[in-house]
Amino acid sequence: MSNIISIIQGLLVIVPALISVAFVTISERKVMASMQRRVGPNAVGYYGLLQAFADALKLLLKEYVAPTQANIILFFLGPVITLIFALLGYLVIPYAPGTFISDHRLGIFFMLAVSAIATYGILLAGWSANSKYAFLGSLRSTAQLISYELILSSVLLLVILLTGSLNVITIVESQKAVSLLLPLLPLFIVFFIGSIAETNRAPFDLAEAESELVSGFMTEHSASIFVFFFLAEYASIILICILNSILFFGGYLSIIVFSIISLLDLSREDTLFHVLISIISSSPINLAVKTSILVFVFIWVRASFPRIRFDQLMSVCWLVLLPITIAYVILLPCVVSGLLINPVNISLL
């Protein structure tokens, strides 16, 4: 019986994640279309809402092309690795108080390790296609991914300094009084820029820009493999927006401090007011709203800024963002030790 429950729990996380990936695709096309004063896809369902499923169905039934002189095993293995490790990050995030798959003590570290392996998919896929455009695209994309991953892990270090534990649920619950956006606003900006670059989104999307390298490392991949890259990219966009909202906005906690209202003790425990407060203050709807706003900002940034060149991209990471982050890593532990606000987490077995 417990096996069936764990199977249902696992499916309850994965199937909505994949469906939301599909709807983020549709929303990206419609939102970018609105920003460019056109309509976007509106033929398939009501207002074009089933477009992604039609696309997925078409791609799954398309012919796959395995190029000559390509390593077939690595050719198919690269996208599979990218998809698996892009979806594995959903294992440790809390959707509501008490609602998670795994309460890992090193949840943040797990997500970092998973995104470190996900860069292998791109490296292997581009090299094994045996075409110089795919190879150069994958080299540049891998160099971009590893550089910005450094920024992400440094900012995570500073968030954990103020929180005291690597457990994701501890990070969320320690923001009950005030979200970590207030002390760490510059670091949120750095983390946001890093997360746009980490997911290969515009303005950092040289890997998929068609004017540059004929769609980069995905040039030779045709039908189902392309679906893998597509799914992996949008799943990692949603995952990194969830991570942003967990670290800096409070996850499933509400932004407005409802605890003050409940401290006033204006009503009895079972009235509608109390029920409403307890629903709003820690619920998965908060996480969903924050993540949706951040995904919308991702799409907004894509429609607004021009693409930057590869050498400018690397210069921004190593010569602008990394010195800022190093300066914060030297400053923040001194401030925390000087003001004696070291967080201590005691876990009773």
């Binding site: 764990s6 696992g10 799954l60 698996i84 892990s153 189902s224």
Partner: protein
């Protein structure tokens, strides 16, 4: 088995199922023109696919390795900052400052700049030495 184990086994199975659906249900008529590498219609030469590279990729990967090691070694400090007190803070700062000195040396040598031949239109000579990114 728990949900974690099931989740960890479900991911590869999902990927393999999607791959298998495509490999089974799709037509497959390969011929030589379709299978050759993409070169806008031209034929690619045999030895041209894996050629020389610029050294900057190696420098980026090496510097990423060193800074990643440094961050991984600072992670135990941030979870035990209270127990270590001021002494631990000073040790962490010494560790970090040694590596920051190396980073400053490397910024000074312009080792991280990829050369580009773009010429800027504004009077960039007056900005020389002020900006890290341009020229």
């Amino acid at each position: 088995m728990t949900t974690t184990t099931f989740f960890l086994f479900l991911m590869p199975i999902l990927a393999i199922i999607l791959l298998a659906v495509n490999l089974i249900l799709s037509p497959h008529n390969p011929y030589q023109e379709k299978d050759s590498a993409f070169e806008c219609g031209f034929h690619s030469f045999l030895g041209q696919n894996r050629t020389q590279f610029s050294i900057s990729f190696f420098i980026f990967a090496l510097l990423f390795l060193l800074f990643d090691l440094e961050i991984v070694l600072v992670y135990p400090y941030v979870v035990s900052a209270y127990t270590n007190g001021i002494y631990g803070l000073v040790i962490m700062l010494v560790f970090f400052l040694v590596l920051t000195l190396g980073f400053a040396f490397e910024i000074g040598k312009n080792a991280l700049k990829i050369e580009s031949r773009q010429v800027y239109n504004f009077n960039y000579k007056s900005w020389s030495g002020y900006s890290l990114i341009y020229n």
